[in-house]
Symmetry: C2
Subunit: 397 residues, 2 copies
């Protein structure tokens, strides 16, 4: 019983955490409940029920299936569903008429062949990456509606089918409209805004890594005894890891964002693709940081003499890159001119030059080559990061 209690407590804790991490989740759940309760009214209220009959069911179905977390997701699904239903319905009627021409016996055969052909062809189109990303749900509904219309018509007769189609379309419309209205007007969650925030926070994560890196790396190799103290707040050294695998999330958000109307600071045709490009460059930079991170824990002793020569420029590269990234992040965040980042990009490039000069001037006599290589690698990786940051800065316009 005590283990059961602790399990319940654990579940309660994780529920609480989930809600606290993003309170919009709770709001979203309430919104779905609201939309569903609203369309259920069409069953309860007699005048409405008499108008729509059993088709009211389709309103419930539409709400459950269409309502997504983001406005873009909901819109994408509604629009896909709406157009696919109309188009497939019309084709279905056409198929009916074609089938009737071939007589009572031929009709089911013709219909069967048509359903087979359309279903197979449409299923194949779902393998196109572009269609998969944007119209996957539409194609699904297309297959569904076409099959239903073609198949029911055979039993029900075309006239009755038209009434059914009319009822079904209006209920789908009601369901879709409730979803769209609730998702846009009650605490909306914009995919575009989320994408914007994600890219900004990814850049900030890299910046905070680079900000701390200089101190962390040179501190640790200098005062080995103080290792315990510096281990305390290393969380900033782990945060960048989430950037490595952000590609899928970014692509999904960008796909949804393109369906969204203008909102807040974003116009209708905001260049969401640009975010994907920046995101790819940011990931590129994160890979370099991943390589860099491999050396932060290596407690290889670098000769004091060599280290003091590169320390200055390495710290500068790291901190100036960090400042440049921070400036870029805040420029993206406020959608202002990213030029405040330029001086930092410049001084990080100067630090690269300083490093080169320092290396050239370094007397390599009496140095243990093996011992200095890790530090040299760190320095070189930092120069690669500087290049990445420059590319990111160029892509933010």
């Amino acid at each position: 019983p005590s283990s059961f209690k602790s399990k319940v407590a654990n579940v309660a804790k994780s529920i609480k955490k989930l809600g606290q991490d993003d309170p919009r989740r709770i709001i979203h759940s309430v919104k779905v409940g609201l939309a569903l309760t609203f369309v259920s009214l069409f069953y309860y209220a007699r005048p409405l029920y008499d108008g729509f009959g059993v088709s009211g069911m389709w309103a419930v179905l539409t709400v459950v299936v269409i309502f997504e977390f983001t406005v873009g997701g909901t819109l994408s699904k509604s629009i896909n569903r709406g157009f696919a239903t109309l188009f497939a319905g019309a084709l279905g009627f056409g198929a009916q008429h074609l089938a009737i021409l071939s007589g009572k016996n031929g009709e089911p055969i013709v219909l069967g062949i048509l359903v087979f052909l359309l279903a197979a062809a449409s299923t194949f189109t779902r393998f196109f990456p572009r269609i998969k990303a944007r119209y996957d749900y539409g194609v699904l509904i297309f297959i569904l509606t076409f099959s239903l219309v073609a198949v029911s018509g055979y039993r029900v007769g075309v006239d009755e089918l038209l009434v059914l189609a009319h009822q079904r379309l209006s209920t789908i419309l009601i369901g879709g409209a409730s979803c769209i209205i609730i998702s846009i007007f009650v605490c909306p969650v914009w995919a575009g805004q989320d994408l914007h925030k994600l890219v900004v926070s990814n850049i900030e994560k890299l910046a905070s890594y680079l900000e701390g890196f200089g101190g962390e790396y040179f501190q640790e190799t200098k005062t080995e005894e103080g290792g315990d103290v510096s281990k305390k707040d290393k969380s900033f050294l782990q945060k960048y890891k989430s950037v490595l695998n952000s590609k899928t999330t970014e692509e999904n958000l960008a796909n949804f964002a393109r369906w969204e109307p203008g909102h807040g600071k974003f116009r209708l045709r905001h260049p969401w693709q640009q975010y994907l490009k920046i995101g790819a460059l940011v990931r590129q930079c994160a890979y370099q940081i991943e390589a860099l991170n491999g050396y932060i824990d290596s407690n290889l002793q670098v000769p004091q003499e060599f280290q003091s020569k590169i320390q200055e420029s390495c710290k500068n590269m790291s901190s100036e890159s960090s400042k440049a990234l921070k400036a870029l992040a805040s420029a993206i965040k406020t959608m202002t001119d990213p030029s405040p980042a330029n001086p930092h990009v410049e001084s990080s490039k100067n630090a690269v030059k300083d490093l080169k000069i320092a290396l050239k001037a370094a007397s390599v006599n009496d140095l243990d080559l093996q011992a200095i290589i890790p530090a040299a690698t760190v320095a070189l990786t930092l120069t690669e990061i500087v290049k990445c940051v420059e590319k990111i800065s160029d892509s933010v316009t």
Copy 2:
């Protein structure tokens, strides 16, 4: 018209390519068409129609929504749908009985509140990553079925509802069963096997990169004039890039694989999680290769003197790691003992030692430190890769 023609030709080409890349896509499309045509029979054949009536629609709907590319996907959705429908149906009837107790006027209010509460609570559970990964579709169907049952009961009456529920369940069963049978017995696509192949091919991609790297890197710095020749077949230098972003695909496949029965070489409870672990280590190694790849194009001149000292051990590290990875890949592929990889892991570790000795022996006098650092970084990154390969080798058991 000529531009239209070329467009059509382009589309035709991409269709052909899609089919050639993976012919299972074409087979899958045909399978969906078959399943759909099969369940349509329930509409056409009079005795069946009389038994099921309009509920036959649910068979069509089930097939369209459930049929996935992999067996695991189809099974996961069918099982989710089946259990969710049963459970939600039972709860819906319970809700009906509860609502009736509160009188004709109170009934819709009680039902409305229940629908709202259940929909909101269930929607919230979908945010749990675990539930999202495995039971997302089940929760969706749960909300849908509960709302439909609770809401229809109010209009139709409980007795008629039971008949409806019976019809609907049997048609869903027929739809689900057709999907499962066709997806398992007609040219099945196993998610487990795909995961297996993906991990193997990812390891092979890294191996082929490392195999070519030694030659590529030292060739290029040696004979700068021959650059044009060596640029010819560089495709192996790009393939590893797809490994960087393989996480989502691997996780999806692993999620589907756990639903699959034993097939081919795989038992029912094959340790699919192990593949994710190996996959993560392989990605770790790919990040290092990404860092390495940054230096392959840098045409910095490394002094011949220094290069000749590290060339031997670097080439060995690279080629022995490659051989170890290849041995591991083929061990995973054939599910045999991975010990053939051990000697290669050992000799790659020896190469690391050789490198250290070479560096120690290298007279650093008269060397341009700046010029040798890129080569030194390459060497150090290779030692990191050797470490990664050792970890991968340890995880393959």
